[in-house]
Symmetry: C2
Subunit: 208 residues, 2 copies
């Protein structure tokens, strides 16, 4: 698909949002293209114009939209990890987001339908992972510049470890209904970064 006009982009976005809401309400199995057309007041030819690949292409666009939402829901905290207060506020926001969401994860629901191992689905996960990690790593660098985190810590690796803990915590929340793992992983990850500065203040360096 070529570049869209401003109006075209708005229409496409309206279709994606309408599809996402419909899927959130009644599940992906019970959502048809006709449901989406009805909700977004679009014709078959409009839908085909924006999504020539049909339902699969629309579902991928919804997956991308839900992935964007995962990050947007963490703002402004995730984008401003410049003090320990900010890190703990972000931690609370993440836990709260998943508490509100409950045990249905819209992104996971759509991805299951697209097929987790398809190239399109993997591209969505990879992009979300990269962006999420980049924001956390930026926060680590901020704190290193402020002398609050050991400069010997690799920001990318610290971000990868934190993200793994979050993903595992969310996964275990979906299957157990408890947020314990998510909370423990965030507390340990942030605690580890914070303690690294305490180690710095020791006269003989970074510890064992």
């Amino acid at each position: 698909m070529g570049a869209l006009t401003t109006k075209g982009a708005a229409t496409r976005q309206r279709i994606v949002e309408g599809a996402a809401e419909t899927i959130r309400e009644r599940g992906v199995m019970d959502t048809t293209l006709d449901d989406v057309r009805a909700r977004t007041r679009t014709s078959k030819s409009q839908l085909f114009h924006y999504f020539p690949g049909g339902k699969e292409e629309l579902l991928l666009a919804v997956a991308r939209f839900e992935a964007d939402r995962v990050l947007a829901d963490q703002q402004p905290y995730l984008g401003e990890l410049t003090s320990w207060a900010a890190w703990w506020a972000w931690r609370d926001r993440v836990v709260e987001r998943y508490r509100e969401q409950g045990r249905q994860c819209p992104l996971n629901v759509v991805m299951s339908q697209v097929g987790h191992s398809t190239p399109g689905a993997q591209a969505v996960v990879n992009e979300l992972t990269l962006r999420w990690e980049a924001e956390i790593a930026t926060g680590v660098r901020h704190m290193q510049a402020a002398g609050e985190i050991d400069p010997g810590i690799d920001p990318g690796r610290a971000a990868a470890a934190l993200l793994a803990g979050i993903q595992g915590g969310v996964l275990l929340h979906l299957s157990t209904g408890r947020l314990t793992h998510l909370e423990a992983a965030l507390d340990m990850g942030i605690g580890h970064l914070r303690d690294s500065a305490a180690r710095l203040s020791r006269p003989y360096g970074a510890g064992a």
Copy 2:
């Protein structure tokens, strides 16, 4: 199903193992009960005797078998976390296990088919989570008794955080093909526990 005789239990186990191998080889969608019968040389009435619930019951038994394997593959390391060398050996074994397994996770494959949100599937995940965490927590207590981990750390919570990191690392391995997250999560989690002892040796207590 009532208690099985020794011979009955062995036959049932043979069916479960045969089904697990067949599913590992050709995927869960393409495995029929006839395939399992042929491989394990069992009759229809035998299969029905051990699995009156049919394919769904057999799949759950396979899921339990694969969950047991996840833990067995980490032994003897997971059961003997009594020195830092043992913790790092366990860390390497976990990473190696998932490297060998590649991007197909047999447990996940079976669970997807059973339905992650069914009570049977959730029971398997919950039991695996509890047993895995209990083993890690036992290791934390060992190290606390030896003065190698800050006694102020809650063993159950430390185990929950580590397990979240492992689960997220495995999930990200499945979608990105890279083991970076799993390695980073284990290194951070174990590093955090190890550094807690270094904090103890500071004259003014456990740090910031």
